[in-house]
């Protein structure tokens, strides 16, 4: 292994600038003449707008403009869109309600933007926002997805009777019904997958700019996919034509999915910049982020799993209501459908699966993809059912999983996915060993002596990453292809710039991509620069989410490197006066096979540009190649996490005392970065299981709207993790990569809840399992036992 090549724990190249305050985030950028935007947001969850009075705000010092939905409409600015078409089981298309960037006639959630103030300073804009008077006709509101479809519930959009966006299904209902009807045991669970706020460390921000000289627009924006933003803003919202719009995603401080989407605020900044002929900057504050960032999860599910007498799964039936909030966010429709139900087979050979999903509008903020996006919800359903099944059947939970593991690959599940490779026994075995599960009972007795309840919980998860084969997702309703692009530009001195359509916001691409390129070309890693996040630099790309960058983006880089090597060999052949077929490239040198004649990489790259040694008519000068890579399949990272908890029955406090994570991500480029991704994912999963949860009150007011009331995990909530790996290479891409960004968040919630329910001897606990909830569950379980 090369010291900086694939498999080396190279320190992250980008960290120096991040930890020395030299990063350049959107708010660090100041454009000449920049002014500030502040949004006026609805304090009501559901109301008709009778009138908006802006005259008083306009006259205040420093105010350049007060713009409303009427101004947007007058300029024929289009609505925001959801880009994934889902059809209901009756064939009807999803009910996508109009989503103007500024609400004009009706507000549908607390935080819905109504007007924007553009002023010289933020303070002036805030003062002016106070002067905007909105006359509301307040309507009844609904936030609970389980209540949204009820008769008499407030109707949010005319287009969607009963607030139902779609009634979708997947799988074979008859087969699943038959399997459950004939099963020896049927295990059933009601699950609430709690709603989460993503809380990236850097809040969203945007600077819109219009150059009246050239007619060009620029948008600096905290986005995970600048090209998709440009496409949607030009083709659908219609603020600027695509060729006259530059979107730049500079350093971005975390996304977790919430920065994939095209939001009202960035559209408004770009549009307003032309209206006032000044660059317009908006920086979201933390309170706004709680209201207006797309939230994650929020499923209500009833699931049943059937087992035969030997503990083999016979069938699975799942019914889910998914809350998509007040408007359909950019990819919201895909999350509770193709990113969810397609993973309900888990790691198991399940003959029959049926899943029905109703997506509903409620008077809450939009819900869309959040780290894992559908796959944590699916994993939670499957892995909770497995654990409960094991308890009901009296089979060791690890053993029950073993009995049902898929053994042969490729494996076609009943829910679309075709798993290409995996070894679920290997990851389970390694996890059991590392967690010293054999000695668990000893530890449990020790805890009991100290008055504590100890529990162990497993989660054998699978996910689909490497998103995604374009034709396949197109057939499922996606409005875009999900290939990735790369361009490798070799300079005369032999250094290399790699342009990628992926975008890093914490993943470390500037290091891992450089590792692959440096190893392949035999050059120092410092001679490789990764360029991303600017539509003027990179022609097109689909961005970073769904753990796709290495599996898809790096595959495009490898494809471009293949072309670079082929061209460089032609040049080397001229320099070495040998046949092209005899040129061998290794360790940064081109040599003539079977001779000691060779030439270094740097000599070939220089000659590529001076073009002195070959005819420019026979061989084009220069060394630059591009590639588009379209995946052949999803990739299927999988693994086994084991969580051990100790609960104080007197206080209900849960302490995670041990965590073992064994993941199979295929080829690992940088184990240190991968381990960091696993750590972060588990932290977020533990957050969901123990601490985090959005609460809207009866009037649809967000009461968990700050860090006083919304609890993120802190260092003392988390254990030290034991992280290990098994490797089955992904056969679908050139490097054998599967993806690692979401695994922890997918595996952790079920592992934690399985451990807690094991400890307290009751399945009756919902997420977040706060001390209060656990204490109540322990009491209830004890009373139940006494009564029995």
């Amino acid at each position: 292994m090369n010291a900086t090549g694939i498999g080396a724990a190279v320190r992250r190249k980008e960290d120096y600038r991040f930890i020395t305050g030299k990063g350049c985030y959107t708010d660090d950028i100041s454009r000449p003449g920049e002014v500030r935007a502040i949004f006026v947001r609805s304090p009501h969850a559901h109301a008709r707008i009778r009138a908006i009075e802006t005259a008083a705000a306009r006259t205040l010092p420093g105010v350049l403009a007060v713009l409303t939905g009427a101004d947007l409409a007058a300029d024929k600015i289009g609505n925001l869109i959801c880009g994934w078409m889902i059809h209901s089981k009756d064939g009807s298309p999803m009910k996508m309600a109009p989503h103007p960037a500024l609400a004009a006639t009706k507000v549908c959630f607390v935080g819905d933007p109504i007007a924007v103030i553009v002023a010289e300073t933020s303070a002036q804009a805030r003062d002016a926002a106070e002067k905007v008077k909105v006359d509301y006709d307040i309507l009844a509101a609904v936030t609970d997805p389980a209540a949204a479809q009820a008769k008499g519930a407030a109707l949010i959009h005319e287009i969607a009777p009963n607030n139902t966006i779609y009634q979708w299904h997947l799988g074979d209902a008859k087969a699943a019904d038959a399997a459950l009807a004939t099963a020896r045991h049927v295990v059933a669970l009601d699950i609430r997958n709690n709603r989460l706020v993503p809380n990236a460390i850097e809040p969203r921000a945007a600077i819109g700019e219009y150059d009246s000289g050239s007619g060009k627009y620029s948008l600096w924006n905290t986005t995970q996919n600048p090209h998709v933003a440009r496409l949607v803003i030009s083709a659908f919202v219609g603020v600027a034509p695509e060729h006259k719009l530059r979107v730049v995603a500079p350093d971005v401080g975390g996304g977790f999915g919430s920065k994939i989407f095209i939001y009202p605020e960035e559209v408004v900044c770009l549009w307003a910049a032309r209206k006032v002929d000044r660059p317009v900057k908006w920086v979201c504050d933390r309170s706004e982020a709680f209201l207006a960032d797309a939230h994650g999860r929020d499923h209500v599910t009833h699931a049943q799993m059937g087992f035969d007498g030997d503990g083999r799964i016979t069938g699975l039936r799942v019914r889910t209501i998914a809350n998509l909030g007040a408007y359909m966010s950019t990819f919201s429709s895909s999350v509770p459908t193709y990113l969810y139900a397609t993973l309900l087979a888990g790691q198991y050979d399940i003959p029959a699966i049926y899943c029905a999903v109703d997506a509903v509008y409620t008077n809450s903020g939009p819900v869309d993809a959040y780290r894992g996006a559908g796959r944590p919800e699916a994993t939670f359903v499957v892995e909770r059912l497995m654990e409960v099944g094991a308890r009901v059947l009296g089979i060791d939970p690890a053993d029950l999983r073993k009995r049902n593991f898929i053994r042969k690959f490729p494996h076609q599940t009943p829910v679309i996915m075709n798993y290409d490779a995996g070894d679920y026994h290997a990851s389970l075995k390694k996890a059991l060993d590392m967690a010293q599960s054999r000695d668990f009972n000893k530890r449990k007795r020790e805890s009991a002596r100290n008055g504590k309840l100890r529990g162990i919980g497993y989660c054998a998860y699978i996910e689909a990453c490497g998103i995604a084969p374009s034709q396949a997702v197109g057939s499922l309703g996606a409005g875009v292809g999900l290939w990735e692009s790369a361009e490798v530009r070799v300079n005369p001195t032999g250094s290399v710039e790699v342009l990628t359509g992926c975008h890093q916001h914490g993943q470390g691409h500037e290091t891992t991509f450089a590792q692959v390129v440096a190893e392949r070309l035999g050059i120092p890693i410092d001679n490789v620069a990764i360029v991303h996040g600017d539509t003027d630099a990179v022609q097109f790309g689909m961005g970073t989410y769904g753990s796709r960058s290495a599996a898809v983006g790096l595959s495009a880089v490898v494809k471009a490197l293949d072309k670079i090597e082929a061209k460089a060999k032609k040049i080397a052949a001229h320099l070495l006066e040998a046949a092209e077929a005899d040129i061998v490239f290794a360790d940064g040198r081109f040599s003539v096979s079977g001779t000691d004649k060779s030439v270094a990489w740097g000599e070939v790259t220089l000659q590529a540009y001076v073009a002195h040694k070959f005819s420019g008519q026979e061989l084009e000068p220069g060394l630059k190649e591009g590639a588009f890579y379209d995946p052949t399949n999803f990739t299927f990272p999988a693994g086994c996490h084991i969580c051990e908890v100790e609960i104080d029955p007197e206080t209900g406090a849960t302490r995670i005392v041990a965590w073992t994570a064994i993941d199979d991500f295929g080829t690992v480029i940088n184990p240190m970065i991968v381990e960091g991704q696993v750590h972060g994912g588990i932290a977020q999963g533990i957050g969901q299981a123990l601490l985090e949860g959005v609460v809207y009150d009866d009037n649809a007011q967000l009461v968990t709207g700050s860090f006083m009331d919304y609890s993120l995990p802190r260092a003392d909530d988390l254990p030290s993790y034991n992280v290990g790996m098994t490797v089955t290479k992904c056969p679908g891409n050139p490097l054998g990569i599967k993806g690692c960004g979401e695994a922890g968040a997918i595996a952790a919630p079920a592992a934690v809840i399985n451990a807690i329910t094991d400890a307290i001897g009751s399945e009756d606990i919902a997420m977040p399992a706060t001390p209060q909830a656990v204490w109540a569950a322990v009491r209830k379980a004890n009373m139940g036992r006494k009564a029995a």
Partner: protein
């Protein structure tokens, strides 16, 4: 979010005196903490402007106050709603009862209110405490006003 509060205050004046003060816009204006304006529109309706500060949120609330269920000199219901601009809104009411006690008057109140917007989002944990303090301040001021009129 919903806010509920109740309490009793012993006042050193007879019921009919207290009743008059309770219907006197000038007295109420002087007693309501942060009240900048309280204009009588009719015997049972006032227009009010008051500044309230709850934790990080400070806002000038404008709204109307109505008196209903008038039962002189035994009590009434006072209700209203106010818009605090970007800070949010508040609406609700209080039932006030007056009974003779120890030569003076015992004033009882039951408040139920709804708040929304930034106040609910940020001030949640502070609203109950802030409201209690405002109620305490109001009744301390009111008791003083009543006592002065007796003086």
């Amino acid at each position: 979010m919903a806010l509920n509060m109740s309490g009793e205050v012993q006042l050193g004046a007879p019921r009919d005196v207290v009743w008059v003060k309770l219907n006197d816009a000038e007295v109420l204006k002087a007693c309501i903490p942060g009240c900048e304006e309280l204009n009588k529109l009719s015997d049972t309706e006032f227009q009010a402007v008051a500044v309230a500060k709850v934790g990080p949120v400070k806002a000038r609330f404008k709204g109307r106050v109505h008196l209903t269920d008038l039962d002189p000199p035994n009590g009434y219901r006072i209700s209203g709603e106010g818009e605090g601009g970007v800070a949010g809104f508040a609406k609700g009411g209080a039932t006030v009862t007056l009974t003779d006690r120890d030569g003076g008057t015992l004033l009882g109140y039951v408040v139920e209110a709804q708040i929304g917007g930034k106040l609910a989002q940020l001030g949640q944990r502070l609203v109950a405490g802030a409201s209690k303090k405002m109620a305490d301040d109001f009744f301390a001021n009111f008791a003083k006003a009543v006592a002065q009129s007796q003086g």
